[in-house]
Point group: C2
Chain length 145, copies 2
Amino acid sequence: MRGLGTRTVLYQQNVATSLGLYNHDFISVDILREKGPITAGELSKLTGLSTGSVTALIDRLEKIGYVRRQNDPSDRRKVIIVPQYENKEEVSNTYLPLHTAMIKLASTYTPEELDLITQFLGKASTVLEEQIHHLSSIARSKSSS
Amino acid sequence: MRGLGTRTVLYQQNVATSLGLYNHDFISVDILREKGPITAGELSKLTGLSTGSVTALIDRLEKIGYVRRQNDPSDRRKVIIVPQYENKEEVSNTYLPLHTAMIKLASTYTPEELDLITQFLGKASTVLEEQIHHLSSIARSKSSS
């Protein structure tokens, strides 16, 4: 699990570098891709970044066309961040070799085995999300004391 | 898989922040912990960082006592980087809540299921390692052209 974690981090850093992005910027785009449009406040919570850092990050990403700000159609007082990078060919091209290799790996398992693995990955994901909240709340209480 | 990847990256960034380390420095310590003592050249290959960046990184980590340089006992012309941070209480304390939560998650599976999951994680790890080499070799050929 930890070996996979280390390699995941390194892989993402290499993807970010090859796209010419800061690593943190890139991860935020990835969260938006997964969660869909969310507010800056929600992005701050999910990344553990301060709201100031998130504002600067959205500015950078908007400038290069990876996201755009938009009024929330369901609540016009809110501004949501809409991911735009799915259509960017450089992004999908960068991920393609990993995608292909992972599909090849998955094809060596039965549907029942893949179910079990997917379920485990989902639960491990939830555990990590809780741990991120835990660490960032400790960091916040330290910096405010 | 991608959702877990994103959270892994964010988790590691939050761990690095809470230990007051640069994220890349932290990941390198983590690789050393997994691989054991290796040379700067090997660390460069595993992280996708240039040899110059790796030298600066080892300097920073040596200064705060996370690693030390040492002559390789089996080949005295070689210098290896020895991880030192296992004994650091701040590191183990930071990881403890994740460790506990993951053991709790693992305990809900049978030994056979855990075998399958572990085997999958190992293979996914290898796939990612190959992809890191792939991306960093593209980056190198770009920067040298």
